[in-house]
């Protein structure tokens, strides 16, 4: 097979590659049967490619400088976020319809400050140690929350009891094989119920360089990237978990960041080192959620009216399409 360049090594000593290696156009590295030779030729070929690429870059840069102001703008690299399929339910900040909807939906009493959030955290039957600890830590993060053990009670029975005792939200953490893997968030007086798949749960002791425990101060809330109508309502659900007035003395912030339909929850303590610099230190548990379904009423698996379900066959077909 035509190798077309330089000496071929025999004893394992590689001679230095010549400046410009010429490969005949019909040559392909993979045709050489000898592995050592093939490897060597491949390395040569790779070096060649790299040189060419560098040369090309230099040329382009020179052209750019030569043109000066008239140079075409730099090309923006494509990212998944750039290429995202446009979702027609994206919320426009000035949309009146959305604003009207929000003024009259189930969270309106919260946002009008008529109700104070009170949260009940519970698990599925027989929680294991990790889930129990996670519930406790979650309870320290969310102010005004209480943890109760399930002990085999049916959700449909405890919901009216919760409503009677003035709870505004119910969180059920589902467990599988000793790790929490699902979260059901239900806004109580007849509010929407969201079912999430929870993953990468890290307890406080597993977080590196963590600070001290979260204090009792009411944290601030950051909600990022909830753009579509669905994302909007989910974002409001999360916001309704926390009391309205964050205590800035505590300098704690809870973040729900949505990226490509995954909602990352983090809990940090921040400090402003200067006007343009802020330092954050992670405390508290972290987890990621992925929305599975959103139901109109409270938790009811059989007769509930589903506002949105994740249908894998229809919704997972495109890599650039996201729903939150």
């Amino acid at each position: 097979a035509g190798e077309g360049s330089g000496p071929v090594p025999g004893d394992g000593t590689d001679p230095p590659a010549p400046e410009r290696v010429l490969f005949p156009p019909t040559f392909s590295v993979s045709e050489i049967k000898n592995k050592q030779r093939r490897h060597f030729m491949f390395l040569r070929w790779k070096q060649q490619q790299r040189k060419e690429k560098l040369a090309l870059k230099k040329k382009r840069r020179k052209e750019r400088e030569a043109l000066g102001d008239k140079a075409p703008p730099k090309a923006i690299p494509k990212t998944i976020e750039n290429q995202r399929v446009y979702d027609e339910t994206t919320v426009d900040p000035n949309d009146e319809e959305v604003a009207f909807d929000e003024a009259t939906d189930e969270f309106a009493p919260y946002f009008n400050r008529q109700t104070v959030p009170k949260i009940l955290i519970t698990t599925s039957d027989r929680p294991r140690g990790r889930t129990v600890r996670f519930c406790e830590q979650l309870a320290t993060v969310i102010p005004n929350s209480h943890v109760y053990y399930r002990r085999g009670l049916a959700l449909k029975r405890i919901i009216p009891q919760c409503i009677a005792r003035d709870f505004t939200d119910l969180i059920v953490i589902n467990e599988d094989r000793k790790i929490p893997n699902g979260l059901v968030l239900s806004h109580l007086p007849d509010g929407p119920t969201a079912h999430f798949r929870m993953s990468s749960v890290r307890l406080r002791k597993e977080i590196k360089r963590k600070g001290k425990e979260p204090t009792e101060h009411v944290p601030e809330v950051i909600l990022n990237n909830f753009t579509t109508r669905l994302g909007h309502s989910i974002g409001r659900m999360f916001a309704a978990l926390f009391p309205h007035d964050p205590q800035f003395i505590g300098r704690q912030v809870a973040t729900f960041h949505n990226q490509r339909d995954y909602i990352f929850f983090r809990f940090h303590r921040y400090i402003f080192k200067s006007e343009k610099k802020v330092g954050i230190q992670e405390l508290g548990p972290r987890f990621t959620l992925k929305l599975r379904s959103l139901q109109k009423g409270t938790f009811d698996s059989k007769f509930g009216e589903y506002e949105w379900i994740h249908k894998r066959r229809e919704m997972d077909t495109s890599r650039r399409k996201f729903h939150l």
């Binding site: 990212t79 998944i80 976020e81 919320v91 900040p93 000035n94 949309d95 959305v98 604003a99 929000e102 946002f111 039957d125 085999g152 049916a154 798949r197 993953s199 990468s200 600070g211 001290k212 601030e220 809330v221 950051i222 909600l223 990022n224 990237n225 909830f226 909007h232 974002g235 409001r236 916001a239 309205h244 007035d245 964050p246 800035f248 003395i249 300098r251 912030v253 973040t255 960041h257 990226q259 490509r260 339909d261 995954y262 990352f264 983090r266 940090h268 921040y270 400090i271 402003f272 080192k273 200067s274 006007e275 343009k276 802020v278 330092g279 954050i280 230190q281 990621t288 992925k290 894998r312």
Partner: protein, 291 residues
């Protein structure tokens, strides 16, 4: 019969027989006790009876010598009544003149079956745990996508940016006293115009800013509800802000940056307390704002 048993039971191979260390079991569905014995083998006994249940109803199956030549009609089936005692009587009456062992074992088996049927009915009334099978490929795909989304999210940067935005928009009021911004602004305006006018201007600016914020019901860019939540904080703190800026001018000479040092842990917490006390000392009376 004896011949059959001598072939299958002890010496040769019976496909229904399962041996374990201590016991031999019989997998034949018509077997009465489930063990592989001379008396319990349905193949070796030409007169045999069992109780089996189908869809919640119990039947008594009987096999007699007369029908040994017709395999299709071999097992005769009798439906037992749902009433426990009546069914026992029916078993007795059908198996009259049958060996004691078979009668007894049939009744025992029938009892066990009714007990487990009752338990099934009770359990179905309680909450059932639904097992959903995981799809490995999908799980792996989701995990991969989650990792990539995490990298793309750049959470720390996003949070820091958001916090700085909030600082700029004065949602924190006067807790963080970085007078540099306000000071520069004040200096510029002082150069241009007189003091009182600049004050009025600043007040107006702030009022306009807040009105604008209120009108923007839902903020664009990244976060939406943060500003809305902190709207009240804006109102109450704006008054203090105005005074603070005036104060900032006066304190121009000794504007020591009250920026906090990047200490972590308890040292960090001490600082804010001290600063707040300081600010409270110098706070004049608050103006009332026309809402």
């Amino acid at each position: 019969s004896q011949v059959v048993w001598s072939m299958l039971g002890n010496r040769q191979f019976c496909s229904y027989k399962m041996t374990t260390k201590t016991q031999n079991f019989c997998r034949n569905e018509y077997n009465l006790t489930g063990l592989c014995n001379r008396s319990s083998c349905p193949l070796a006994n030409s007169q045999y009876a069992t109780v089996r249940e189908e869809k919640g109803r119990c039947y008594l199956y009987m096999k007699t010598i007369e029908r040994a030549a017709f395999p299709r009609r071999l097992w005769e089936r009798v439906l037992l009544s749902k009433n426990y005692e009546k069914a026992l009587e029916e078993i007795d009456e059908n198996l009259i003149y049958w060996p004691r062992f078979i009668r007894h074992k049939c009744k025992q088996r029938f009892t066990k079956i009714t007990q487990y049927l009752i338990r099934i009915r009770k359990l179905t009334l309680k909450r059932q745990r639904k097992l959903v099978p995981l799809r490995r490929k999908i799980e792996r795909r989701e995990n991969r996508r989650e990792e990539k989304a995490l990298i793309a999210a750049q959470l720390d940067n996003a949070i820091e940016k958001e916090l700085l935005e909030r600082l700029k928009q004065d949602t924190y009021g006067d807790i963080y006293n970085f007078p540099i911004h306000a000071f520069d602004k004040a200096l510029q305006q002082q150069d241009a115009e007189s003091e009182s006018e600049s004050d009025a201007e600043r007040e107006e600016d702030e009022e306009e800013e807040e009105d604008v914020d209120k009108r923007e019901f839902v903020e664009a860019e990244d976060s939406e509800l943060s500003d809305f939540e902190d709207m009240d904080k804006l109102e109450t703190s704006s008054e203090e802000e105005q005074e603070e800026e005036e104060e900032a001018q006066k304190k121009a000479s000794h504007s020591k940056s009250k920026g906090k040092t990047p200490l972590k842990g308890p040292a960090r917490r001490k600082r804010p307390y001290i600063e707040i006390e300081y600010e409270e000392e110098t706070e004049p009376s608050t103006k009332t704002k026309a809402a």
